[in-house]
Amino acid sequence: MSAPVRRTPAWGDVAEGDELPDMAVDVTATVIVAGAIASRDFMPVHHDRDYANSQGAPDIFMNILSDTAYCSRFLTDWAGPDAVVRRLAIRLGVPMFPGAPLVYSGSVTGHEVRDGEGIVEVTFRAVNDLGEHLSGTAELGFPLPG
């Protein structure tokens, strides 16, 4: 676990196999509701437990726009403000209900220069008390030296 970086790592310092610092989110009902509303997703399963129960869910659960938001924070907390997210693809597994930590981990699985930019592929997952909540891959663009 580490604080978000304020500088993007030099392209030459990034290598395949590098691990990103883990990111843990202590997920409460507040976290789920704040994320749903900030992403403008008003589906009641993300803020109304009675409604979630009527859909067969034991509680409200995190919306996918919050998932992609946390993925981008996980990536750029490591890659810094001069990296750009070029691609992000996630697949959801078990739901994220309130009352458990959600822990992101990932590593660099690709590294190449493309269209004048350094492209880093990261493969990652996020796990909670029930199992794997999501898995995915992303591509980040890094400035090249010079």
Partner: protein, 184 residues
């Protein structure tokens, strides 16, 4: 309730057609700092290029940019809060028959997002107005899932700026299911 063969035919006919009315959603507000700050606070994402003008000026962007994964948020409909539960959880009034309404009608009233894939062509700046054009890509046959029998529905969205230039693309998949253990 309609027969499944009828539903399959109705869904097949919608592949490649626009999602919703015309399939185009224009952001109700331009990209703006208050919504970005709200988003950054909710996810505790303090990447300085989203909210700190001085740090953004020193970055490769030269000015504030929107968080790239806010792309889908800009064009989300302004919700109608009254009656949201009575509309089966739909935060907006649906315009005419849609594929999702057809699935609701056939008993697949539950909705769960399963996949989201983004290509970010470029970051957005304050003041830009985004439009999203979506088309149905595929509908699966009924599958048995952890939540009950369901069908996966996929659509693709192209996000454009005011000049019509593409700023990003997204493929989004949801499961529409018949909830088990819940009142029918």
């Amino acid at each position: 309730m309609r027969q499944p063969e009828d539903l399959d035919a109705r869904l097949r006919a919608m592949v490649g057609r626009p999602v919703g009315g015309r399939g185009v959603a224009v952001a109700p507000d331009p990209v703006n700092q208050p919504m970005i700050r709200h988003w950054a606070a909710a996810f505790e994402d303090w990447n300085p290029v989203y909210t700190d003008p001085d740090a953004a000026a020193r970055s490769r962007f030269g000015a504030i940019v929107a968080p790239p994964l806010m792309l889908q948020t800009w064009t989300m409909a302004t919700p109608k809060i009254s009656g949201i539960a009575e509309r089966g959880g739909s935060p907006v009034e649906t315009e005419g028959p849609t594929a999702l309404a057809a699935l609701d009608e056939a008993g697949y009233v539950g909705t769960l997002a399963t996949n989201s894939e983004f290509e970010i062509v470029r970051y957005l700046r304050l003041g830009e107005v985004v439009s999203a054009t979506s088309t149905w890509e595929s509908f699966t046959e009924e599958k048995q899932t952890r939540l009950g029998p369901g069908r996966f529905v996929t659509w693709v969205t192209t996000y454009t700026d005011e000049a019509g230039e593409v700023v990003g693309r997204q493929r989004f998949r949801i499961l529409k299911f018949k909830p088990e253990g819940a009142p029918a």
